[in-house]
């Protein structure tokens, strides 16, 4: 879960250090205080959301919105659930295995779904060319081409001289 979030956050332009996953048992009041104090200081050092190092300030909210929608999609969730199932069966929870699994399986699905969302939100305003879409979504035209083609096949998008637009 945390690893998925980290990779997705990074992909959306959020420094994944902003997400912490820590453990403190019921009796560990002092440890909790240490953790929380350290964490708050870390965030203070990063500055407000979007202004930290390697963070994409301007499109952040839109990118995250796309990420949330992607996280709701059946396709991404199925990949996510199945990977969790695989780890559970294998009993292998090493950070390397998880990181690789997320990178190879979940993140691509996530990214595809996020870009789909970006494309849809872009073209719902006005028809866009691939280059315009690429600039909007912050991705390469080649990567987007596959997605628009697929959306075109499903009849969600149509293309004409001005570029891609919503079918309905």
């Amino acid at each position: 879960m945390a690893e998925t979030c980290r990779q997705v956050l990074n992909g959306a332009g959020v420094n994944s250090d902003r997400l912490a996953l820590e453990w403190a048992s019921a009796a560990e009041g002092p440890r909790f205080v240490e953790l929380i104090t350290g964490y708050v200081n870390r965030i203070k050092a990063l500055g407000p959301l979007g202004e930290g190092p390697s963070e994409a300030g301007e499109h952040l909210e839109r990118r995250l919105d796309a990420a949330v929608k992607a996280a709701e999609s059946l396709k991404v969730r199925t990949v996510y659930g199945n990977l969790a199932k695989k780890f559970h069966k294998a009993g292998d929870y090493s950070p390397e295995a998880i990181s690789a699994g997320v990178r190879e399986k979940i993140y691509p699905a996530f990214r595809r779904e996020m870009l789909t969302q970006e494309i849809i939100s872009c073209v719902s305003e006005k028809p866009c060319t691939l280059d315009e879409l690429a600039e909007f979504a912050g991705a390469s035209a080649e990567e987007l081409e596959k997605i628009t083609a697929a959306l075109g096949k499903k009849g969600i998008l149509k293309e004409d001289g001005r570029g891609w637009f919503l079918a309905r």
Binding site: M1, A27, V33, G81, N82, K85, H88
Partner: protein, 940 residues
């Protein structure tokens, strides 16, 4: 409940007594009184307010405090003009409820009971004793209980510490310990066991109220031996800069309106200082009516007029069927009193097992009012002051008013103590009046108080799931006390988030499951055996699991109890009873390997000789014990002359022979305890050392016995042993941790070098034997804790559910705790605690049913795609796939579900929702957290 009553006599025999009780009238009908206070207002007769330690004045008809039970006023018959002179009658005329009834007469009741529990508490120390310290003569000498009222927000000064003489703020306060304790001249030779701790508490609270106060505490020994107390004392000392002086102040003089104290420290120096206020840390005496109670109930008292008991049966009086608990058994603090209270319930329950349920009444709840939910969310928010706990930091009124601006909120109020009986009653009334269908209480932690408030909702026909708490105490006011503004902002945010969630709450069914009427007790030591026997005597099958191949645990190494009883005989009696009891199955050489399930339906795997057996049971008692600390210091293990107290006992058990060539014995206290290896006090080593020193003196009076100590913590009646040891010539030398004694081995014998405070130099004491008072270390608790998912303290002992009020319960429902697994304690205390754990463990067995928290998962089958991810991931095997037509659908096994939600967070189709933690509820909290969203919503 029978108030204003005293016991006259108990006739009959165990199982069927008749208790004669005399009841004085209240003159106010409890059922009619609405506690409005009009009578107090009109009464012309002022009386001292005893609840506020006479620091305030009230009238003849009054209520002690707003939260009092019964929540009804009463008339102080001694002061009332109507009762004594047949005049006045003003109150009766003004009472609109017509609750005042002067025709009430004293009543004599005859109660048919099977058993009697005596819990009359403790008495006050005579004013004559307090007068020696200027009490009564100098107004600024106050008792600790008076000081407690002064620091209380709802007390006579509203929490401001003011000198009674001139109502000014004191700058320097002195606490004098051992007033009416450890003092033979006043008849109280025992240690009251609680004053050291409450003095530190009161000093800390005072410093919290007035940070620039200068506080000195005068101790003979600092006796903070309770669980976690030493750490708390140290923290308070450091945080508040409390000054600790080791001396007993003999008297108090008044000079120019200030109080002059003179004392001598143990280096022989004399000191004099002026203070503005002196607090007497008054001890606990036997109850004033102890003699009357003893006569009426036919029991014996000890030489201090407390109830007479023995260390192997601390809760039994000298008369069968009559039991004792609390301070009447001996001075003790709240957790120990609560422990004994539960323990004594076990004793009565053992005696009367066959009659269980014949006279009991069950609570019934009204039907739920479903019409409420047809309306829009009508949220009521109650913001709790918790005295000064919250209101001292957070601006409660501002939070309350803020709550009123939130969508859906129709009622917003603040309460002084939301959890008090009167507040609950008023909350219940307001819910009904305003037809609230969602309730938010901003107060303490839902972990401790949610059940209480939910019970209130149930009692008025509102589904308990329609309730949410905002934790503005434990996670706000208490932890941000230096930043009141930020804390207030946080409290507002938390309330906003709680309200957002509350608006979406849905009623949940309250499932119950049957309880397997069987208990497992882990550990076959004194505690485990006592607990197993008690549960079995109360009528339930018990499995006693012991890892080693013998019963007895640490009791096997003990030779005498503190009251001189033969420990071997106690051990034999216990093991014989355990082995012959048909209700107890003993499994020796058996390891506990794991436990699954939940209260009422646990399954444990027990391994014996490589064979694993699964046992189903309803409850678990953890009595896995502790072990003596094995020291590396003081040359232990390198010489036969350096031994532990238990090893000394073993030598002494052979009589005086081993002492043949022994001339001098040096005992060193706090070996391992209160130091680097174990930061806590092991509680019993001081008494143990004194006990053994006396044994040595008994066998061979001319042996010189030295006890090198840090604080002699011979609390309670063990103080008698300490005094006797001093009288018999045992030499006590105090050392400090920065100047520990040194053991020097020589070719012939051993010397101990120690700093003598009176001489002001190091001395060397030759020692035939050096006896180390080693502390009690936790057993291998981590593994057991992991298996049952119970938390440990930082010291490695099991953590109880609540330090004061639930001392033998563990955070895991259905698991109970006793003996050394909980923390260091004496045999007497272990037995009380084992009985208490047995009582608590028997409650679910006796009820036969337990309620399952309705936080379980629920599958929306219309959305489920039958992928099986949830079934695979569930850590409790609480979800399964079933065929429905051609498709597979997931289904929750409610009784096994713990509500962890891993299924919901991994469901591809978002088909699973968690009771009380649905996606939309959590999303609403996230949105409410982000104020921006919240404002947008309000606009729309």
């Amino acid at each position: 409940m029978i108030t204003n009553a005293s016991l006259q006599a108990i006739e009959g025999q165990p199982g069927s007594f008749v208790a004669r009780v005399h009841q004085e009238p209240r003159y106010i009908d409890e059922d009619k009184c609405t506690a409005c206070g009009t009578c107090t207002m009109y009464c012309p007769r002022p009386v001292a307010d005893f609840y506020n330690e006479r620091l305030d004045v009230t009238r003849a008809p009054h209520i002690d405090y707003a939260q009092a039970i019964p929540a009804s006023y009463y008339i102080d018959a001694k002061a009332c003009l109507r009762v004594n002179y047949e005049t006045c009658n003003l109150c009766a005329q003004t009472c609109t409820a017509q609750a005042i009834d002067f025709s009430q007469k004293p009543r004599d009741l005859e109660l048919e009971v099977g058993a009697v529990v005596l819990a009359p508490g403790f008495g006050r120390v005579d004013n004559e004793v307090l007068a020696r310290f200027g009490y009564g003569r100098y107004p600024d000498v106050v008792t600790s209980l008076e000081f407690e009222r002064l620091t209380c927000a709802s007390g006579p000064t509203e929490g401001h510490i003011l000198r009674p003489s001139d109502q000014t703020r004191p700058r320097r306060i002195a606490f004098l310990q051992c007033v009416g304790s450890r003092d033979e001249t006043c008849g109280n030779g025992f240690c009251s066991s609680v004053c050291c701790m409450y003095a530190v508490k009161e000093a800390s609270v005072a410093k919290e109220h007035e940070p620039d106060l200068d506080i000195s505490l005068f101790f003979m020994d600092v006796r903070t031996q309770g669980k976690g107390f030493d750490a708390a004392r140290k923290r308070a000392q450091e945080k508040y800069g409390l000054r600790i002086i080791r001396a007993r102040v003999p008297n108090v003089d008044q000079v120019d309106g200030r109080l002059l104290l003179t004392w001598v420290t143990d280096d022989g120096k004399s000191h004099t200082e002026l203070f503005d206020m002196v607090v007497l840390s008054v001890g606990l005496s036997a109850p004033e009516d102890a003699r009357a109670i003893a006569e009426a109930s036919g029991i014996e008292l000890n030489h201090y007029n407390f109830c007479k008991t023995t260390h192997d049966a601390p809760l039994a009086t000298t008369r069968d069927g009559i039991y004792v608990a609390g301070a009447f058994q001996g001075p003790k603090d709240i957790p120990e009193s609560v422990t004994q209270a539960s323990g004594v319930a076990a004793l009565a329950s053992e005696l009367l097992a066959e009659t269980r349920g014949t006279r009991s009444v069950t609570v019934t709840y009204p039907e739920e009012d479903t019409s409420l939910l047809e309306e829009e969310p009508r949220v009521g928010v109650f913001v709790c002051h918790c005295g000064v706990n919250i209101a001292g930091v957070v601006d409660v009124k501002a939070v309350r008013d803020y709550a009123g601006t939130l969508p859906g909120v129709v009622l917003y109020e603040d309460t002084l103590y939301s959890c008090s009986q009167d507040a609950l009653k008023s909350i219940a009334e307001k819910i009904k009046e305003n037809r609230l269908n969602r309730v938010v209480i901003a107060a303490c932690s839902p972990r401790t108080h949610e059940p209480l408030f939910q019970e209130t909702l149930r009692s008025i026909g509102v589904n308990p799931a329609l309730f949410e708490m905002a934790n503005i105490r434990d996670q706000c006011a208490w932890v941000h006390s230096q930043e009141p503004e930020a804390a207030t902002e946080k409290a507002k945010d938390l309330v906003r988030m709680a309200v957002a969630k509350a608006r979406l709450l849905e009623p949940l069914a309250q499932p119950t499951v049957d309880v397997i009427p069987k208990a497992i007790v882990l550990g076959g030591g004194a505690s485990g055996m006592t607990a197993a026997l008690s549960i079995a005597d109360q009528g339930y099958q018990t499995v006693l699991v012991e890892r080693s191949d013998r019963l007895g645990g640490n009791l096997r190494d003990l030779k005498w109890t503190l009251d001189g009883r033969d420990a071997g005989k106690i051990l034999k009696d216990l093991t014989d009873r355990v082995n012959s009891h048909t209700g107890v199955e003993v499994l020796l050489g058996t390891e506990f390997k794991g436990m699954s399930g939940y209260v009422g339906n646990f399954t444990s795997s027990l391994e014996k000789g490589g064979q694993t057996e699964l046992v189903n049971h309803g409850v678990l008692v953890v009595a896995t014990g502790g072990r003596p600390y094995l020291p590396k210091s003081y040359g232990y293990g390198k010489s036969k002359r350096v031994i532990t107290q238990l090893e000394l006992e073993s030598r002494l058990s052979k009589g005086k022979n081993p002492l043949r060539n022994v001339r001098s014995i040096v005992m060193i206290q706090c070996v391992g305890s209160r130091g680097d290896d174990m930061s806590y006090c092991s509680r019993l080593c001081c008494s143990q050392a004194v006990k053994n020193a006396l044994k040595i003196k008994e066998f061979k009076p001319d042996v010189r016995v030295y006890i090198l100590y840090r604080d002699m913590r011979t609390y309670g009646f063990s103080e008698d042993l300490y005094r006797e040891a001093r009288k018999k010539g045992v030499i006590f030398l105090r050392y400090t941790p920065d100047r520990k004694p040194e053991v020097i081995r020589q070719t012939r014998g051993i010397k101990v070098r120690v700093y003598d405070r009176l001489i002001g130099d190091e001395i060397e004491v030759p020692a035939s034997w050096v006896v180390l008072s080693v502390g009690i270390a936790p057993a291998e608790n981590e593994e057991t804790a992991r298996l049952i998912k119970a938390p440990l303290t930082q010291d490695g002992f099991f953590l109880e559910a609540h330090a004061k009020l639930r001392p033998v319960e563990v955070a895991v429902d259905g698991v109970y705790l006793c003996g050394l697994a909980h923390g260091p304690k004496s045999l007497e205390e272990s037995i009380s605690q084992a009985k208490a754990a047995a009582a608590k463990a028997t409650i679910p067995l006796a009820k036969g049913k337990v309620a399952v928290a309705p936080i379980v998962s629920r599958v929306d089958k219309s959305l489920c795609i039958g992928c099986g991810i949830c079934e695979n991931l569930c850590p409790f095997n609480a979800i399964r796939l079933v065929k429905e037509g051609k498709r597979r659908k997931a289904e929750t096994i409610t009784a096994s579900c713990k509500g962890c939600g891993i299924c919901a967070s991994h469901c591809p189709a978002l088909a699973i929702s968690m009771g009380g933690f649905t996606d939309s509820e959590i999303m609403a909290q996230i949105h409410a957290f982000s104020q921006r969203e919240c404002e947008e919503r309000r606009e729309s």
